[in-house]
Symmetry: C2
Subunit: 353 residues, 2 copies
Amino acid sequence: MKSRKATSHEVARLAGVSQSTVSRAFNRESAVSEETLKRIRAAANKLGYWPNELARSLISRRSNMVGIVMGDILNPFYPAVLAAFTQKLQALGRRILLFSVAPGADIDDVLPQMLQYQVSGVVITSATLSSRMARTISASATPVVLFNRSIYGHPVNSVCCANEDGARDVARLLCEAGHVRFGLVGGHADTSTHIERRQAFVEELRRHGICGVVEHSGGNTYEGGRTAARLLLDAAQRPTALFCISDIMALGALDATRYDLKLSVPDDVSIVGFDDIPAAAWPSYQLTTVQQPVDKMVDQAIALLERQIKDTAAPPSQLHIPGTIIVRTSARLGPQPTHAASRPSGERGRKRG
Amino acid sequence: MKSRKATSHEVARLAGVSQSTVSRAFNRESAVSEETLKRIRAAANKLGYWPNELARSLISRRSNMVGIVMGDILNPFYPAVLAAFTQKLQALGRRILLFSVAPGADIDDVLPQMLQYQVSGVVITSATLSSRMARTISASATPVVLFNRSIYGHPVNSVCCANEDGARDVARLLCEAGHVRFGLVGGHADTSTHIERRQAFVEELRRHGICGVVEHSGGNTYEGGRTAARLLLDAAQRPTALFCISDIMALGALDATRYDLKLSVPDDVSIVGFDDIPAAAWPSYQLTTVQQPVDKMVDQAIALLERQIKDTAAPPSQLHIPGTIIVRTSARLGPQPTHAASRPSGERGRKRG
DNA sequence: CTGAAAGCGCTTACAG
DNA sequence: CTGAAAGCGCTTACAG
């Protein structure tokens, strides 16, 4: 009950071998004779022995831990991201040191903490990295990958959805349907996702001859999206199409349109989101949106990180993985091509290139 | 760029003091003279030195890490739980080692890993603990708290919502509204939450003279709840009230009722959930449910854990924190008392004791 | 207030 | 295949 944990020395004594042999039995069993291995296993079992990872990490200088900074776990897009990271990293034998920071806050405080634990690498999701910290990181030589964030002017790995392409497609399809008055519900103005999606959307509208877009921030929350939509749709010249920078805000916007303003979606107002969170597919919403390929993105992020862990000198990459427009019923879009593939799941939405 | 991390010895050399003094400067600065402290700080700064937590943990035998096992992060109830744990533990100066296990899977594999990292304590959320592992834990003398799970016959800390009381209230209010045909959408049959909520619900119905409840498992997912509801409501003797063991299933059930079966909620079918996830409050759902007091529960869980970390001999507690019925519009319930308090937030739901 | 020394529990050359 | 020894980077009595 009060038993202190057994050490390799105690196992060694019980098995009648040296401590180094016990250590080898747990690292490269091939280096230990069959017979000895058996005795050591029996002894270890009896004492409930497992190697102390702290000591192991200290001497071998690899902690095997990866730090993850989560910026916005309450946004329904991120649980799937976190689940993918934890599963895949666990499968690689890595442990996860989790830190959360308030949305919008930067990670200057938590980064030194991670480094003190000698993490092998760091994943930063949905958080702002100050350029001071970018320097701290490169000074510490700890591999880093940004997920859904990119940073200009610093050589840091990052994996994002192709935000520009997605937003441009949305703009084009809405224009082709004849919309001329647009509203945009934005996220945090200083995040790369907001900037990239907004920029590309506005530019594409301009290419179609449309110069005005009313904008409002929805702070990347349901309530924020709802409030923003209420404000945008209350105008005399009501927009007929709303592009929301993230799905969670789009759901709020959709509910505002239907329940607060008693308007019809998509007859009065078309609403498009970005992410493809689970609720977007529910029949109450049927949200047309740009799907982020979370699994692929996480795979790539881990690959970049592992590459740099293996070779610190590996040049950082900035990856942009294409998203896919999922056409559901929340928006009046341009004419649908007849060959539009229906989704494999039998779900109602259709993908569109 | 390739700089290996500085050690306390290097700082000591640069500052012209001994390594032990450097160590003291980072632990109890009061034990070091003002002047020396200044020199050490300057040196540390120059070298970018921070104490290696692994070494610190090893020698002082406290890792300061708490292991968290998340069983079901994709259920929208858990992001708030994880957020609360990470925030509050971070504020206490603890680090979080995160593990995830498939829903329903037991944690026999991950537990030894956490123990190898010498975690100060373990939080287990929404996962099954085999009795073998319960023994491993008590043998390792590592403090543990179960969150939203309890385990019979083992002295382990646990914090749950008062599942029985909540489910009983739901049953009573539905009976008082005159419902006589009931359906139950369950979760995983071997979890304490399922067992307790189901049991209390069925018992209370019996007290009201109702002996038959049709049941179906919804596996604690939206899709599962939707399918289960479709099956339950397809019967000749259609239930007029569905109790869903968790909100995420209730949302699926609600959509099934409205969109798959073209029935009205609550006129044809009343639906009640359990958890009060954010989506329950959205106007598309307006789900009547039992709210789990997540913040209070997490506070208590951390308190139990910290108590046992301080004093390994502290007797384990099993806590059941009362939930609150939030009355929205998804169910036809018994006559509402006129004094029912309206919710502070101005939200439509009403609390009910 | 400061330093020399022991030691946390391991891994890993180095001999044999 | 096995053991003795050095050392990872710290904390913490113990002297002075």
